[in-house]
């Protein structure tokens, strides 16, 4: 659906990506994660067309039409909108640009937003939901969602995620999410991409990842396995290993634990901060 080929990008002197490539097939729900500042949001913006690569190309499935932005719903953490417009005006503007004949505002009904309120007067949660409503109204084929989930309350978060599940059930929707906290989206995700220093450090589907990353609680470091990071306690340490092989189960000294996605990603990231 989206193909990034040999892309280089920098903000002035700060390089973010160099010869970066990534391919996202249609219908995949993909998570992009990594430490703050590694370039996740930048990657999303490149996919949305809001940033242009200095070198390389980003190709879109022709299904998206001549201008793929028409079918891409992008919600960034900047929540960029024309702030001095009222809600009604913003909706009108949105409709005319995308050529929509109607606008389903059921999502905004969940919050108490008035039509005469200006966009800049909304709280972050309200603004996020408003943004979401806007992009859902264009029946996107691709959803690019930046870390906004954290700024809205649990109820609205659930509402938003339910919308995504609905869309996934109805159509071939491709989703790329940037997040660092996944407890409620974990089961939506199919593929996990971890960025490190502008490159892809890990690219696995979630089931494989779960079988390959384990926590080993032991006194001594397991020498046959690669340790991503560890936490030391007085009597023992926790070693986060990758890639784990089931065949080694008998030979490892210590207890082996499975991990959820948040713990897995923390293990990778923890290694970076060490």
């Amino acid at each position: 659906m989206i193909e990034i080929r040999g892309v280089s990008f920098s903000y002035g002197k700060t390089g973010v990506f160099r010869d970066f490539s990534l391919s996202i097939p249609e219908g995949q729900v993909c998570l992009v994660t990594g430490i703050n500042g590694v370039g996740k949001s930048t990657l999303l913006r490149l996919m949305a067309g809001v940033l242009r690569p200095d070198k390389g190309k980003i190709r879109y499935d022709p299904k998206l039409g001549a201008d793929p932005r028409r079918k891409i719903g992008f919600v960034s953490d900047a929540l960029s909108l024309y702030e001095s417009l009222t809600i009604a005006e913003a909706i009108g503007f949105h409709k005319s640009v995308y050529g929509l004949s109607s606008f389903d505002d059921s999502l905004i009904q969940h919050t108490k937003i008035g039509c005469r309120q200006k966009v800049r007067e909304l709280s972050i949660g309200q603004r996020t939901i408003f943004h979401l409503n806007l992009i859902l109204s264009l029946e996107p084929a691709v959803l690019l969602v930046d870390e906004i989930i954290h700024s809205i309350d649990a109820y609205l978060r659930k509402v938003f995620l339910e919308q995504i599940v609905q869309l996934l059930s109805k159509r071939r929707l491709t989703v790329v999410m940037v997040n660092v906290n996944f407890h409620d989206i974990e089961h939506l995700i199919e593929r996990v991409i971890l960025l490190k220093s502008g490159e892809i450090a890990v690219d696995e589907n979630i089931e494989d990842l779960k079988s390959k990353v384990k926590k080993i609680v032991a006194r001594n470091r397991p020498d046959s396995l690669n340790v991503l990071s560890q936490i030391d306690y007085s009597e023992h340490s926790e070693f986060f290993v990758y890639p784990f092989d089931n065949r080694l189960r008998g030979t490892i000294e210590g207890d082996i634990f499975d991990l959820n996605l948040t713990e897995i990603v923390s293990a990778f990231i923890g290694g970076e901060y060490a």
């Binding site: 002035g12 067309g49 940033l51 201008d67 960029s80 024309y82 702030e83 995308y98």
Partner: protein
Amino acid sequence: MLRKEIRDALKRFVESMVVLAVIPFMYIGDKLVIKVGLDYASLIDTGFFLTLVIFSIYAGATIFQPERKDRAFEYLFSLPLTRRKIILAKILPRFGLLLILGLAATIVVGRSLLADAGITILVLFFSSLFLSIGVFSTAINIFGVILMYLIFFQGGRTFVYLLSRLGGSFAGHFGPLVSQLVSAAVLLVPFGMAFWLTFKKMDARPLKLQMRTYYFITLPVLFVIVSLITLSFRSSQAWLLSR
């Protein structure tokens, strides 16, 4: 997009009209208090002229104001609009209003306005427009426009003089209008190119990081023109006086 830009252009227009609104008060004030003996008709003329000048500069300088003020560049570039559509939607309403205002002024003041100030107004508008992408405050933009105007003004004369040095007789055929046109073109074409090339490539990065193309084109051009004018200033002045 167009509708929004039309609304914005009208807003700027109304803001520029403040000048015209002042005139009745000046007149009344004069009649009652100062008693300098202001002529109402020439007040109107001046008022229109000033409004035209103010609007042409203001409309050009504020072309990206909605995006700057509302931090909406990222939103704008996420929309399925080509750069061409965007810039046309922005320029046409402003230019259209300028034409209408100019027409109104010509009707009220007389054809002389068009003849004397027509090109000047165009130069003010477009130089303000082309500068707006390269400078980051409206105040500096206005300052830049004034400079550009001076360059344009002096440039016309310098051009005619230089031609006379090169071409001899046909320099005489160059009426003021043509020299104005050529001077405007020499100044505005590179700036217009710099503007378009910069805007075409523009994305949601901080603006300051994207100005290399712009300065690369405009600064040398300015340098060359200003040098030419400066070097030939004395002789061109002398030549003009002798005619």
